[in-house]
């Protein structure tokens, strides 16, 4: 049986990769993908820890989170499409009109 | 339906109906608004008729629990004070709806906000529950921001004075500036009020917000009262134009559209004074007595300072706005006297000043609409083309300077009498001085605007009020004279409530000994 720490390491790696992506990517789609990576890292943790504790709630929670992520992706993609329509670009640096 | 609830809800329902109306329904919008205001006015009159003057006290009480665990309930009732103030609000709102007839830009939104605001005002005057009271208070204050910011007028002013280098960025004179200033200053006041109300609530053991219930089980030490009272005084006082927190008033009133100025100076400022007396003084007798001297001195400053400031103004709306600051000082002076005459005068002055300043702002709106200027110095001889307006304006001036036969006299006289009979008799002098200065500046303004030769060629198409424009000003003019000659219409009820509340504040009964004379 794979120890739970391995899962947690995997999740930490996925999270760090996602975070790196969010911070460095200029392409909104890329950022969106990175966010997905971070979200799924959390899901991996939930499932793994739930399993090791013998508690089904972790898996249930993960399922719930996946469903929510779908909704989030839909909204995110909608924003991307809208951004593309209005600016002909999905470069995140150019979408900085909210600056103070 | 419960009459008081009807009065509060009628403008609100009218507002909802207007939202549902199609965009271009100009006439229908006005009709609905006027109907809503009319229902409230009729309700106010019906309340006065139903109120049992002989019995006095709180009547038509209705309590609906809202959050029982916190002791919040919708509790409304009327006493002799709220009778007059309901009537005042009804009259001003009704007149204001007529005076807004010519609003063209986004008129639906305008009427909706105006009506919602009035619902809040009605609510404050009848609420017994301080939580709901505060809620209504905020409903009454906040729409002002939009009403002034969207429909207001902008007037560029030159920034001078020692602080000028700092203030260049402020866009002083702009309507957004005025709206923001008004809202921020009043919200600062609200913060103080909230603190005060919560202190009262906690002193009652956190069981109820109802002022009548609270009175029975409230325990508050003198020391606590000493800091809670000033919080309520400054908080409510800001709305009543308390010096030095009055500066939102000239800018706000000058920038606001006609009906908004009418409601704001005519009714909203009274919310502040009403709050100081009804919540501050009546609920905190020891605090009120300890602070009476300070309240009176600041009020005296208000009266004289406001009058002199008004005298130095050149813009007609600023003159009227500063005169409001001065007259609200009379209200606060009356409150500070802690005498029957003084309190009667204070409440009657709220009424009289409301009607008078409502008339003034309606008139200024008309004059501005026709002449496109508010600069008094550039006017002259307007009586030639606007005889009707000039007569009503003069009447307003006469009430303002306290001429017998107008409502203003009754109010000011009672306050001065109370001031002399109070613990600080000299308070009478600033009051009378203020009235004299008022005579100087209002007559000066009247002469400059309406008398003298007409400057040919400078004004085109000047004309008297016509059609619907007459409704608001003639209504208010009639009220000024009616209540001047027959003050008992309102004063009998006011006196009843005064005796009851003042007895609580001074600790002994102030009712006159011997059999009461039936009017």
């Amino acid at each position: 049986m794979v120890p739970v720490s391995s899962y947690m390491l995997l999740a930490a790696g996925m999270f760090s990769m996602g975070l790196y992506g969010v911070l460095t990517r200029k392409n909104v789609l890329g950022i969106l993908l990175s966010v997905e990576l971070m979200a799924n890292a959390v899901n991996v943790n939930l499932v793994a820890i739930g399993r090791s504790l013998g508690d089904g709630r972790g898996e249930a929670f993960a399922l719930f989170a996946i469903a929510l992520t779908v909704a989030e992706v839909v909204v995110g993609l909608a924003i991307v499409i809208f951004l593309h329509r209005s600016r002909r670009s999905i470069d995140v640096d150019q979408a900085a009109s909210m600056h103070g | 339906m419960h009459l008081l609830t009807l009065i509060v809800l009628a403008p609100f329902i009218a507002a909802m109906v207007i939202i549902a109306l199609p965009d271009r329904a100009r006439a229908a919008t006005r009709l609905v608004a006027i109907t809503g205001a009319g229902v409230s006015l009729a309700g106010a009159i019906a309340t006065i008729l139903q109120y049992d003057l002989a019995r006095g006290g709180l009547q038509m009480q209705k309590v609906v629990p809202l959050v029982p665990s916190l002791g919040i309930s919708y509790a409304v009732a009327v006493d002799g004070w709220s009778l007059s103030l309901l009537l005042l609000t009804g009259i001003i709102l009704f007149a204001g709806c007529w005076a807004s007839w010519t609003v063209k830009d986004r008129d639906r939104d305008f009427y909706v906000l105006l009506l919602v605001l009035s619902a809040g005002v009605f609510g404050v005057f009848v609420s017994l529950d301080m939580f709901v009271f505060f809620l209504f208070y905020e409903i009454a204050v906040l729409p002002m921001y939009l009403l002034i910011g969207i429909w207001g007028s902008t007037k560029k002013v030159e920034i001078q004075g020692p602080l000028a280098p700092f203030l260049k960025r402020l866009d002083i004179g702009g309507r957004e500036y005025a709206a923001m200033k008004l809202t921020l200053m009043l919200l600062m006041g609200s913060a103080f009020i909230l603190v005060g109300i919560l202190a009262l609530y906690m002193a009652g053991g956190g069981k109820t917000f109802n002022m009548e219930l609270l009175r029975g089980n409230m325990v508050m030490s003198r020391d606590t009262q000493l800091w809670v009272f000033p919080a309520l005084w400054v908080g409510f006082g800001t709305l009543a134009g308390l010096f030095p927190f009055h500066t939102w008033s000239p800018d706000g009133h000058a920038a606001a559209p006609t009906a908004v100025s009418m409601l704001h100076a005519g009714v909203l400022m009274k919310l502040g004074a009403f709050g100081v007396i009804r919540v501050g003084m009546v609920m905190l007798p020891e605090g009120a007595q300890a602070w009476a001297l300070v309240v009176g001195i600041v009020a005296s400053i208000n009266v004289v300072y406001g009058a002199f400031s008004a005298m130095s103004q050149k813009d007609l709306k600023y003159i009227i706005a500063y005169s409001s600051v001065s007259h609200m000082g009379v209200v606060m002076l009356g409150a500070a006297t802690l005498t029957v005459s003084g309190w009667n005068g204070a409440v009657f002055q709220m009424f009289a000043h409301g009607i008078m300043t409502g008339a003034f702002f309606a008139l200024v709106g008309l004059i501005y609409e026709k002449s496109h200027t508010r600069d008094v110095a550039s006017m002259g001889g307007f009586a030639k083309f606007m005889p009707g307006i000039s007569v009503v304006f003069t009447l307003g001036c006469l009430s303002s300077l306290g001429l017998p036969g107008t409502a203003g006299f009754v109010a000011e006289f009672l306050v001065f009498l109370g001031a002399y009979k109070s613990a600080h008799g000299w308070w009478m002098l600033p009051g009378i001085l203020g009235a004299f200065i008022t005579a100087i500046y209002v007559l000066k303004a009247t002469r400059q605007i309406f008398w003298g030769p007409f400057p040919e060629g400078r004004f085109e198409h000047l004309e008297d009020a016509r059609g619907t424009e007459w409704v608001a000003i003639s209504m208010l003019a009639v009220c000024l004279v009616l209540f001047g000659f027959w003050p008992n219409l309102a004063l009998t009820g006011v006196d009843k409530a005064t005796v009851e509340y003042l007895s609580r504040v001074v600790g002994t009964s102030v009712a006159a000994a011997g059999p009461a004379l039936v009017p």
Binding site: M98 | L417, R447
Partner: protein, 608 residues
């Protein structure tokens, strides 16, 4: 009809008339209709007043009160009607002079625009209402209310020609000065209530006997009188008030409104008499005004100004008489003065109507053109000069007799009598004798019946009123009657004849330059031209009042409001300083979140 109802009608009818002529556009736009309506109303009032006078003479006394303002469940102020020997004659005087003046106005102002006339008569009716309400007052408070309302009517009527800047200034000045005096009056009222808990005439009379009021209170009350009855130094508004139409000057600024102050003194005489010191001050102010105004009148060239200062002077007589304790003398002089001064003003109006000028030097020789007016004006002059047989002789003699015990005051009073005869005689000879000195005077014409009729009636009264001194005294219960010729009377007569003689000598047709100021009056002329009193008021308004307003206005806008704005500025600047943090780039915000998260975790690890 019952007296109560009559009394109520006398007060309310003019108010209703004002409502009809003022509020119904159909009537207001037809000036003559409004005028007729108004005149008929005031005639009806006159008839009712006469009936009431008869009843009061029969000893009837009516007092009705209704509550006006409550205090703590009881009555604070009342509104009432009072008929007695003091109010009844004043009711008649007011309605009589008002009726004559209104009828006269119908003709005098017939060239005015119809609309303006409607306004004119509305104010007139309003005035009659206010004045009658003042006369029938049962208490000080109501009297004050009506007192200010007549002041309002005065303001409105002086400003009748509002397009004229001088009329506007005069009207506003009249209001301000009156308001100043009324402020003192108001303080007095409040002090009275604080001390006696009542304003009722009878109750006050009873109470002041027990505890007399302080001199300050009485003098504050008297300040109200000073402003309304144009006593020095609050007289400045009266000469300017001549900017109004002449009939207005006759009714308000000669016969009735300005006499309200004297009426108050008579009505509340026990209150004033309760403080002897105050009464003495009142006497000195009165007699000084009499002399001062008479001297000023001698060098005026405008016929209306002459009459205005003469009114001031005569009011000074009345006030001085009250100060010396002669309430009957004052009241009787008030009555006769109302008749002959109204007559003089209306006659002056007739001259002005004919000559189209107010200036005496521009007149002359009018005797040939306006015979009736000459006779009527002459009667007025003889009455005011105090020639036996005319009413002024009797009333002025009563006044001077009262002053006998105060030698200085008495001498000044006699001197003023001589001066009065001189300046009135001067006005008469300048206007009517000699040759015409201008085109206007050469083409003058007699006025119509509507104007001469009222004047004739007033002239008759100006002659015969004097013979009613004894019935008047009985009616008013003010003092024991008893008219007898004394040294004072003879001295006054001699001085009056001397004054008239001097007028003929210096200004008659034989004089070298009739209009010139004689040498012995040159210092007076210089002083009057310097206008010190007026300049003092001008200074206190322009420098003190406007100066203070400027200073306070500046402080408010730039200091008080400046500090408020400073808070706004601090918020704005603070925001501006912090805004650089907001780049608007999403990754920057994520980075901030991560840094924050790491910091929190580190803090938890280290500190936890």
């Amino acid at each position: 009809m019952k007296s109560q109802a009559l009394l109520l009608l006398v007060v309310v009818l003019p108010a209703l008339c004002a409502g009809v002529t003022g509020l119904i556009p159909y009537v207001r736009r037809r000036g003559m209709l409004a005028g007729t309506l108004s005149s008929l109303t005031v005639l009806a009032t006159l008839v009712m007043s006469l009936v009431l006078l008869g009843r009061a003479n029969g000893g009837e006394k009516v007092i009705v009160n209704v509550q006006w303002m409550p205090e703590a469940g009881k009555t604070l102020a009342e509104f009432g009607l009072r008929l007695d020997g003091i109010s009844a004659p004043m009711l008649v005087v007011v309605s009589l002079v008002a009726a004559m003046v209104q009828i006269y106005s119908l003709s005098y102002l017939h060239e005015e625009p119809s609309e303006s006339l409607g306004r004119y008569f509305t104010w007139h009716s309003l005035f009659v209402f206010s004045m009658q309400a003042l006369v029938v007052s049962t208490n000080l408070m109501q009297l004050f209310g009506a007192w200010e309302l007549v002041g309002l009517c005065s303001y409105l009527l002086i400003g009748y020609w509002w397009a004229k800047p001088s009329a506007g200034k005069a009207a506003v000045k009249a209001f301000w000065v009156n308001k100043f005096g009324d402020a003192a009056f108001l303080i007095a009222i409040i002090l009275f209530h604080a001390q006696y808990k009542t304003w009722d005439i009878d109750a006050l009379e009873n109470q002041v006997r027990v505890t007399p009021p302080g001199a300050l209170v009485v003098l504050l009350l008297f300040m109200g009188v000073m402003s309304k009855s144009a006593q020095f130094p609050l007289h400045v508004w009266l000469p300017d008030a001549m900017e109004g139409p002449t009939p207005v000057s006759a009714l308000l600024h000669a016969a009735t409104m300005v006499a309200a102050g004297v009426y108050l003194l008579v009505r509340f005489f026990p209150v004033f008499a309760a403080n002897a010191d105050a009464l003495t001050v009142i006497m000195y102010i009165g007699i000084f005004t009499a002399l001062f105004a008479a001297l000023t009148a001698t060098v005026q060239t405008d016929v209306k100004k002459v009459l205005a200062y003469s009114t001031c002077s005569q009011l000074g007589y009345m006030v001085a008489a009250v100060g010396a304790g002669g309430k009957l003398a004052a009241y009787f002089h008030l009555t006769t003065h109302a008749f002959f001064k109204a007559l003089l003003f209306l006659a002056a109006g007739s001259i002005i109507h004919g000559v189209h000028s107010n200036e005496l030097p521009a007149m002359g020789g009018l005797w040939k053109k306006m015979k009736l007016t000459t006779v009527l004006f002459g009667i007025g002059v003889l009455a005011i000069a105090g020639i036996p047989g005319f009413s002024g002789f009797f009333s002025k003699d009563l006044v001077l007799e009262q002053l006998e015990h105060h030698t200085v005051v008495w001498v000044v009073g006699l001197l003023t009598a001589g001066l009065t005869a001189y300046y009135m005689g001067k006005a008469f000879v300048l206007a009517f004798a000699g040759e015409a000195r201008s085109d206007g005077a050469a083409h003058a014409h007699e006025s119509g019946l509507l104007m001469t009729g009222p004047m004739v009636l007033l002239a008759v009264l100006a002659v015969v009123a004097g013979f009613f001194a004894n019935p008047f005294a009985r009616l008013t219960h003010l003092a024991e009657p008893g008219f007898h010729l004394t040294t004072t009377g003879i001295l006054a007569l001699v001085l009056a004849l001397g004054g008239l003689g001097a007028a003929w000598l210096f200004h008659g047709p034989r004089a070298k330059d009739p209009a010139a100021v004689p040498g012995f009056l040159a210092p007076v002329d210089a002083l009057v031209k310097a206008g010190l009193v007026d300049r003092f008021y001008e200074w206190s308004y322009r420098v003190v009042m406007l100066g203070l307003a400027k200073i306070i206005g500046w402080v408010d806008r730039y200091l008080v409001d400046g500090v408020m704005n400073l808070f706004g500025w601090v918020a704005l600047e603070g925001g501006a300083a912090l805004r650089v943090v907001q780049t608007g780039r999403a990754p920057d915000y994520v980075f901030a979140v991560v840094v924050g998260l790491v910091a929190l975790m580190a803090w938890g690890y280290v500190g936890g």
